[in-house]
Symmetry: C2
Subunit: 153 residues, 2 copies
Protein backbone atom coordinates (compact mmCIF):
# COMPACT_ATOMS: atom_id res chain seq x y z
CA UNK A 1 0.00 0.00 0.00
CA UNK A 2 2.53 2.65 0.91
CA UNK A 3 4.84 4.13 -1.62
CA UNK A 4 2.69 3.08 -4.53
CA UNK A 5 1.73 5.08 -7.56
CA UNK A 6 -1.13 6.63 -5.66
CA UNK A 7 1.06 8.11 -2.99
CA UNK A 8 2.33 11.63 -2.93
CA UNK A 9 5.99 12.24 -2.35
CA UNK A 10 5.44 15.00 0.09
CA UNK A 11 9.12 15.85 0.38
CA UNK A 12 9.21 16.57 -3.35
CA UNK A 13 5.83 18.23 -3.53
CA UNK A 14 6.26 21.88 -4.39
CA UNK A 15 3.58 23.42 -2.17
CA UNK A 16 4.86 21.47 0.78
CA UNK A 17 8.48 22.35 0.14
CA UNK A 18 7.71 26.02 -0.24
CA UNK A 19 5.82 25.97 3.01
CA UNK A 20 8.61 24.31 4.96
CA UNK A 21 11.27 26.58 3.49
CA UNK A 22 9.32 29.76 4.12
CA UNK A 23 8.56 28.72 7.66
CA UNK A 24 12.15 27.92 8.46
CA UNK A 25 13.37 31.22 7.05
CA UNK A 26 10.64 33.22 8.73
CA UNK A 27 11.38 31.65 12.11
CA UNK A 28 15.10 32.17 11.71
CA UNK A 29 14.60 35.83 11.01
CA UNK A 30 12.10 36.16 13.80
CA UNK A 31 14.72 34.81 16.18
CA UNK A 32 16.80 37.88 15.41
CA UNK A 33 14.29 40.53 16.40
CA UNK A 34 11.80 38.75 18.62
CA UNK A 35 13.53 38.83 21.98
CA UNK A 36 15.58 42.03 21.64
CA UNK A 37 12.69 44.12 20.34
CA UNK A 38 9.59 42.21 21.34
CA UNK A 39 7.99 42.29 17.93
CA UNK A 40 5.81 39.71 16.26
CA UNK A 41 6.25 38.92 12.58
CA UNK A 42 3.19 40.96 11.65
CA UNK A 43 4.29 43.91 13.77
CA UNK A 44 7.70 43.92 12.16
CA UNK A 45 6.19 43.81 8.70
CA UNK A 46 3.99 46.77 9.47
CA UNK A 47 7.01 48.68 10.74
CA UNK A 48 8.96 47.77 7.62
CA UNK A 49 6.14 49.02 5.42
CA UNK A 50 5.87 52.27 7.34
CA UNK A 51 9.61 52.70 7.42
CA UNK A 52 9.71 52.54 3.68
CA UNK A 53 6.51 54.21 2.53
CA UNK A 54 6.06 57.16 4.84
CA UNK A 55 2.47 57.91 5.79
CA UNK A 56 0.13 55.08 4.93
CA UNK A 57 -3.39 54.28 5.98
CA UNK A 58 -4.06 50.90 7.53
CA UNK A 59 -5.56 49.73 4.24
CA UNK A 60 -2.47 50.84 2.35
CA UNK A 61 -0.32 48.85 4.72
CA UNK A 62 -2.49 45.79 4.20
CA UNK A 63 -2.19 46.04 0.44
CA UNK A 64 1.54 46.53 0.54
CA UNK A 65 2.31 43.57 2.72
CA UNK A 66 -0.55 41.23 1.79
CA UNK A 67 -2.14 41.25 5.22
CA UNK A 68 -5.83 41.52 5.95
CA UNK A 69 -7.12 44.60 7.69
CA UNK A 70 -7.85 42.81 10.94
CA UNK A 71 -4.24 41.73 11.27
CA UNK A 72 -3.05 45.22 10.43
CA UNK A 73 -5.40 46.75 12.95
CA UNK A 74 -4.12 44.50 15.70
CA UNK A 75 -0.48 44.98 14.83
CA UNK A 76 -0.93 48.75 14.76
CA UNK A 77 -2.73 48.70 18.10
CA UNK A 78 0.21 46.91 19.66
CA UNK A 79 2.73 49.25 18.07
CA UNK A 80 0.81 52.35 19.15
CA UNK A 81 0.60 51.10 22.71
CA UNK A 82 4.37 50.95 22.74
CA UNK A 83 4.72 54.34 21.14
CA UNK A 84 6.38 53.00 18.02
CA UNK A 85 3.74 54.23 15.60
CA UNK A 86 1.78 57.46 15.41
CA UNK A 87 -1.68 57.89 13.99
CA UNK A 88 -3.25 61.05 12.60
CA UNK A 89 -6.86 61.15 11.53
CA UNK A 90 -7.37 62.46 8.03
CA UNK A 91 -9.14 65.84 8.11
CA UNK A 92 -10.96 65.42 4.86
CA UNK A 93 -12.10 61.86 5.57
CA UNK A 94 -12.28 61.07 9.21
CA UNK A 95 -12.61 57.36 8.66
CA UNK A 96 -9.05 57.28 7.47
CA UNK A 97 -5.97 57.68 9.60
CA UNK A 98 -2.47 57.97 8.29
CA UNK A 99 0.20 56.03 10.12
CA UNK A 100 3.90 56.61 10.46
CA UNK A 101 6.73 55.52 12.70
CA UNK A 102 7.42 57.66 15.76
CA UNK A 103 10.96 58.70 16.60
CA UNK A 104 11.26 55.62 18.78
CA UNK A 105 9.81 53.53 16.01
CA UNK A 106 12.32 54.88 13.53
CA UNK A 107 15.15 54.19 15.91
CA UNK A 108 14.06 50.60 16.35
CA UNK A 109 13.49 50.22 12.65
CA UNK A 110 16.98 51.48 11.95
CA UNK A 111 18.41 48.83 14.22
CA UNK A 112 16.42 45.95 12.79
CA UNK A 113 16.93 46.64 9.10
CA UNK A 114 20.65 45.77 9.19
CA UNK A 115 19.88 42.54 11.03
CA UNK A 116 17.38 41.59 8.38
CA UNK A 117 19.73 42.54 5.56
CA UNK A 118 22.56 40.56 7.09
CA UNK A 119 20.39 37.50 7.47
CA UNK A 120 19.21 37.76 3.89
CA UNK A 121 22.80 38.03 2.69
CA UNK A 122 23.78 34.96 4.66
CA UNK A 123 20.86 33.05 3.30
CA UNK A 124 21.73 34.04 -0.24
CA UNK A 125 25.20 32.77 0.53
CA UNK A 126 23.90 29.39 -0.55
CA UNK A 127 23.70 30.68 -4.11
CA UNK A 128 26.00 32.37 -6.58
CA UNK A 129 25.04 35.78 -7.91
CA UNK A 130 23.64 34.23 -11.06
CA UNK A 131 21.72 31.61 -9.19
CA UNK A 132 20.36 34.24 -6.92
CA UNK A 133 19.01 36.27 -9.81
CA UNK A 134 17.64 33.11 -11.33
CA UNK A 135 15.87 32.06 -8.16
CA UNK A 136 14.36 35.50 -7.72
CA UNK A 137 13.04 35.56 -11.25
CA UNK A 138 11.62 32.06 -11.09
CA UNK A 139 9.93 32.57 -7.76
CA UNK A 140 8.41 35.78 -9.05
CA UNK A 141 6.94 33.94 -11.97
CA UNK A 142 5.62 31.18 -9.74
CA UNK A 143 3.97 33.78 -7.58
CA UNK A 144 2.37 35.60 -10.48
CA UNK A 145 1.17 32.32 -11.90
CA UNK A 146 -0.21 31.11 -8.58
CA UNK A 147 -2.18 34.31 -8.28
CA UNK A 148 -3.57 33.90 -11.76
CA UNK A 149 -4.60 30.32 -11.05
CA UNK A 150 -6.32 31.35 -7.87
CA UNK A 151 -8.28 34.14 -9.47
CA UNK A 152 -9.22 32.03 -12.45
CA UNK A 153 -10.81 29.23 -10.47
Amino acid sequence: MPNDLQALELEKFLPYRLSVLAQLVSESLHDLYAQPFGLSVTQWRVMAALGRFAPLTASDVGQRIVMDKVAVSRAVAGLMKRGLVERATDRSDRRRASLKLSARGRAMHARIVPLARTYEERLYGALSADERRSFDALSDRLFAHARTLREAT
Copy 2:
Protein backbone atom coordinates in the same frame (compact mmCIF):
# COMPACT_ATOMS: atom_id res chain seq x y z
CA MET B 1 12.43 59.69 5.56
CA PRO B 2 10.77 56.89 3.62
CA ASN B 3 12.47 55.09 0.83
CA ASP B 4 15.90 56.03 2.08
CA LEU B 5 18.97 53.88 2.38
CA GLN B 6 17.84 52.68 5.74
CA ALA B 7 14.60 51.25 4.47
CA LEU B 8 13.99 47.68 3.56
CA GLU B 9 12.42 46.88 0.25
CA LEU B 10 10.04 44.37 1.65
CA GLU B 11 8.72 43.32 -1.73
CA LYS B 12 12.22 42.30 -2.75
CA PHE B 13 13.21 40.85 0.59
CA LEU B 14 13.69 37.11 0.24
CA PRO B 15 12.19 35.92 3.54
CA TYR B 16 9.14 38.03 2.93
CA ARG B 17 8.71 36.88 -0.65
CA LEU B 18 9.05 33.25 0.30
CA SER B 19 6.45 33.69 2.97
CA VAL B 20 3.92 35.31 0.68
CA LEU B 21 4.46 32.78 -2.09
CA ALA B 22 4.18 29.79 0.22
CA GLN B 23 1.06 31.15 1.81
CA LEU B 24 -0.65 31.79 -1.50
CA VAL B 25 0.18 28.32 -2.77
CA SER B 26 -0.83 26.65 0.47
CA GLU B 27 -4.17 28.43 0.51
CA SER B 28 -4.84 27.64 -3.12
CA LEU B 29 -4.24 23.98 -2.51
CA HIS B 30 -6.28 24.03 0.66
CA ASP B 31 -9.20 25.39 -1.34
CA LEU B 32 -9.19 22.14 -3.29
CA TYR B 33 -9.64 19.74 -0.40
CA ALA B 34 -11.01 21.85 2.45
CA GLN B 35 -14.70 21.95 1.64
CA PRO B 36 -15.13 18.60 -0.14
CA PHE B 37 -13.23 16.60 2.46
CA GLY B 38 -13.23 18.76 5.55
CA LEU B 39 -9.51 18.50 6.20
CA SER B 40 -7.16 21.06 7.65
CA VAL B 41 -3.70 21.52 6.20
CA THR B 42 -2.11 19.60 9.06
CA GLN B 43 -4.63 16.78 8.79
CA TRP B 44 -4.01 16.45 5.09
CA ARG B 45 -0.27 16.34 5.61
CA VAL B 46 -0.60 13.59 8.16
CA MET B 47 -2.76 11.61 5.75
CA ALA B 48 -0.23 12.14 2.98
CA ALA B 49 2.57 10.89 5.21
CA LEU B 50 0.59 7.83 6.23
CA GLY B 51 -0.53 7.18 2.68
CA ARG B 52 3.05 7.03 1.59
CA PHE B 53 4.90 5.44 4.50
CA ALA B 54 2.63 2.74 5.79
CA PRO B 55 2.65 2.29 9.55
CA LEU B 56 4.29 5.18 11.33
CA THR B 57 4.28 6.28 14.92
CA ALA B 58 3.17 9.81 15.70
CA SER B 59 6.81 10.79 16.20
CA ASP B 60 7.72 9.35 12.82
CA VAL B 61 4.99 11.39 11.22
CA GLY B 62 6.25 14.50 12.92
CA GLN B 63 9.78 13.95 11.66
CA ARG B 64 8.64 13.26 8.12
CA ILE B 65 6.51 16.33 7.74
CA VAL B 66 8.33 18.73 10.07
CA MET B 67 5.48 19.09 12.51
CA ASP B 68 5.77 19.07 16.29
CA LYS B 69 4.24 16.23 18.22
CA VAL B 70 1.41 18.29 19.65
CA ALA B 71 0.20 19.22 16.18
CA VAL B 72 0.48 15.62 15.07
CA SER B 73 -1.43 14.43 18.12
CA ARG B 74 -4.26 16.83 17.44
CA ALA B 75 -4.44 16.07 13.75
CA VAL B 76 -4.50 12.33 14.46
CA ALA B 77 -7.22 12.77 17.08
CA GLY B 78 -9.39 14.49 14.50
CA LEU B 79 -8.70 11.89 11.86
CA MET B 80 -9.39 8.99 14.23
CA LYS B 81 -12.69 10.54 15.28
CA ARG B 82 -13.73 10.49 11.65
CA GLY B 83 -12.50 6.94 11.14
CA LEU B 84 -9.86 7.93 8.62
CA VAL B 85 -6.90 6.67 10.61
CA GLU B 86 -6.39 3.55 12.72
CA ARG B 87 -4.11 3.22 15.70
CA ALA B 88 -2.54 0.05 17.09
CA THR B 89 -0.53 0.09 20.28
CA ASP B 90 2.88 -1.47 19.95
CA ARG B 91 3.07 -4.71 21.97
CA SER B 92 6.73 -4.44 22.83
CA ASP B 93 6.56 -0.76 23.80
CA ARG B 94 3.14 0.34 24.89
CA ARG B 95 4.03 4.01 24.74
CA ARG B 96 4.20 3.77 20.99
CA ALA B 97 1.31 3.33 18.64
CA SER B 98 1.57 2.73 14.94
CA LEU B 99 -0.78 4.64 12.73
CA LYS B 100 -2.16 3.88 9.29
CA LEU B 101 -4.99 4.97 7.07
CA SER B 102 -8.24 3.06 7.39
CA ALA B 103 -10.09 1.88 4.31
CA ARG B 104 -12.08 5.11 4.35
CA GLY B 105 -8.88 7.05 4.84
CA ARG B 106 -7.25 5.35 1.88
CA ALA B 107 -10.27 6.07 -0.27
CA MET B 108 -10.17 9.74 0.61
CA HIS B 109 -6.42 9.86 0.14
CA ALA B 110 -6.79 8.33 -3.31
CA ARG B 111 -9.19 11.07 -4.28
CA ILE B 112 -7.09 13.93 -2.98
CA VAL B 113 -3.71 12.91 -4.40
CA PRO B 114 -4.75 13.57 -8.01
CA LEU B 115 -6.11 16.97 -7.05
CA ALA B 116 -2.83 17.85 -5.42
CA ARG B 117 -0.81 16.55 -8.34
CA THR B 118 -2.91 18.47 -10.82
CA TYR B 119 -2.51 21.67 -8.89
CA GLU B 120 1.23 21.19 -8.68
CA GLU B 121 1.38 20.61 -12.43
CA ARG B 122 -0.58 23.75 -13.10
CA LEU B 123 1.64 25.73 -10.80
CA TYR B 124 4.75 24.41 -12.50
CA GLY B 125 3.14 25.52 -15.73
CA ALA B 126 4.74 28.87 -15.04
CA LEU B 127 8.14 27.32 -15.69
CA SER B 128 9.79 25.28 -18.42
CA ALA B 129 11.13 21.83 -17.57
CA ASP B 130 14.63 23.22 -17.20
CA GLU B 131 13.51 26.10 -15.07
CA ARG B 132 11.52 23.76 -12.93
CA ARG B 133 14.53 21.60 -12.23
CA SER B 134 16.57 24.68 -11.60
CA PHE B 135 14.07 26.09 -9.14
CA ASP B 136 13.84 22.81 -7.29
CA ALA B 137 17.60 22.54 -6.96
CA LEU B 138 18.04 26.14 -5.84
CA SER B 139 15.26 25.99 -3.29
CA ASP B 140 16.71 22.78 -1.90
CA ARG B 141 20.03 24.47 -1.43
CA LEU B 142 18.42 27.47 0.20
CA PHE B 143 16.62 25.16 2.58
CA ALA B 144 19.73 23.22 3.50
CA HIS B 145 21.63 26.43 4.01
CA ALA B 146 18.89 28.00 6.11
CA ARG B 147 18.93 24.97 8.35
CA THR B 148 22.68 25.17 8.73
CA LEU B 149 22.50 28.86 9.61
CA ARG B 150 19.84 28.21 12.18
CA GLU B 151 21.71 25.42 13.88
CA ALA B 152 24.98 27.32 13.83
CA THR B 153 23.66 30.37 15.66
